[in-house]
Symmetry: C2
Amino acid sequence: MSQEVEYSVFYWPGIPGRGEFTRLAFEHAKTKYNDIGDIPELLRLLSNKDVPGIAAPHFAVPVLGVRDKSMDKMHYISQVPAQLSFLAPRLGLLGDADKLQGLERDVAVAQIYQLCATALDMNTETHDTHHPISVSSLYEDQKKEAKKRAADFRTNRVPKFLQLFEVALSKDGAGVDKKDSGKKRMYGSKTTVADLAVFQVLDGLLFAFPKCLGKHRSSGEYKHVFELYDEIKGELKEYLDSDRRRPYSDGIFRHYPELDDE
Amino acid sequence: MSQEVEYSVFYWPGIPGRGEFTRLAFEHAKTKYNDIGDIPELLRLLSNKDVPGIAAPHFAVPVLGVRDKSMDKMHYISQVPAQLSFLAPRLGLLGDADKLQGLERDVAVAQIYQLCATALDMNTETHDTHHPISVSSLYEDQKKEAKKRAADFRTNRVPKFLQLFEVALSKDGAGVDKKDSGKKRMYGSKTTVADLAVFQVLDGLLFAFPKCLGKHRSSGEYKHVFELYDEIKGELKEYLDSDRRRPYSDGIFRHYPELDDE
């Protein structure tokens, strides 16, 4: 199947951004994709006009292109959660859920997407720390509100998300220690799209809020979370060391010292 | 299959909230579900402790309960996008995508989830109009910022979302008029979870921002969007007229006249 499909990721050039969640799926699976950051092409896709194959219009990038080579037909999918749910079974990123069948499998797949959605919510909330009022205005025009929102994010939201990831990694619902039962990933024992999403949001936060995240890391309170982070970083090492991985700058993850802990 | 599964929706009592997106799937499909608003039970689920069957911890409600009667086993899924992607194929809410196979089907399903995700993004942004700084503080403590964010939402975001829905309903990617080709839903000709999500966010916005939405409705610019709204409202009439449908009050959709158009 994968031989007959050619993938492309369309996203703003030069930043990891939301496109990175989709890129990481390809990179972890060592599956080839075209990484397209050509701005006129992106604007053409986002215009939702005169692009054959667009069945559902796009609100934003990343757009995933799926070319069916057997029919020479191009399909487009936007929205990261939709892209990850499309790609996960094709790229072998459902981990232990792939061994299940019927209702058990459908539930496990939904639980993996549930964990992805929570990591992506954390990503959205990170963006809103520097743009709490308007995405179409500059940070400089909403600095006062950004400072308030970032303080709330650091105090209330970051610990709540980290706690959720820690529980996913350390206990099951019946309180059984996951390490004892071989569960060292967000879902089960093998890397899924949920682990990649958690890795990416943590990596961005370590750049954007180094003091806040540094404290949480050294506290030991979220030990399993940072262990997961390090392990996934190892699995992605070849990519992260390559020039395909963009540096953080002016995207979702921005380092404004005034928004971080003192 | 559906005979052997018992569904429950766990959500805060008394408000439609995010739980409504999941409820509408059951109501449209005329499929029985237990609607559970028992607060101690919700808090027990959200504690992520000592609840057998929780494979992935919950960040928030709604939580979907799926009891496998054949094994008397309870599964839990949270996050609305994960719930809708689990339920859509089981409740017959994939519309025309259900007739497809292989890659074509997988793409179509992803495009339906893409449209759902966009409607759910609009829902999140609606929430943030009255809570732009902190979800754990009162509206009264962030009124000034709420006024700014709501102004941006009305001016920039509402038209952008409505425009996206309008394009989905009126044209395909090649510019072909959808009504001419029988496509009268967000995806294809039959109601899917995407139509239900768009209906619900519009219904909530008509309550929360009656002046802003009223202007858009009467402008005729988003004619297909409001036609869809009316048609889905008709399909859900029995439910909407029943006492199972909660009134809006103090949830995501709140009517603060000072946040609406003048």
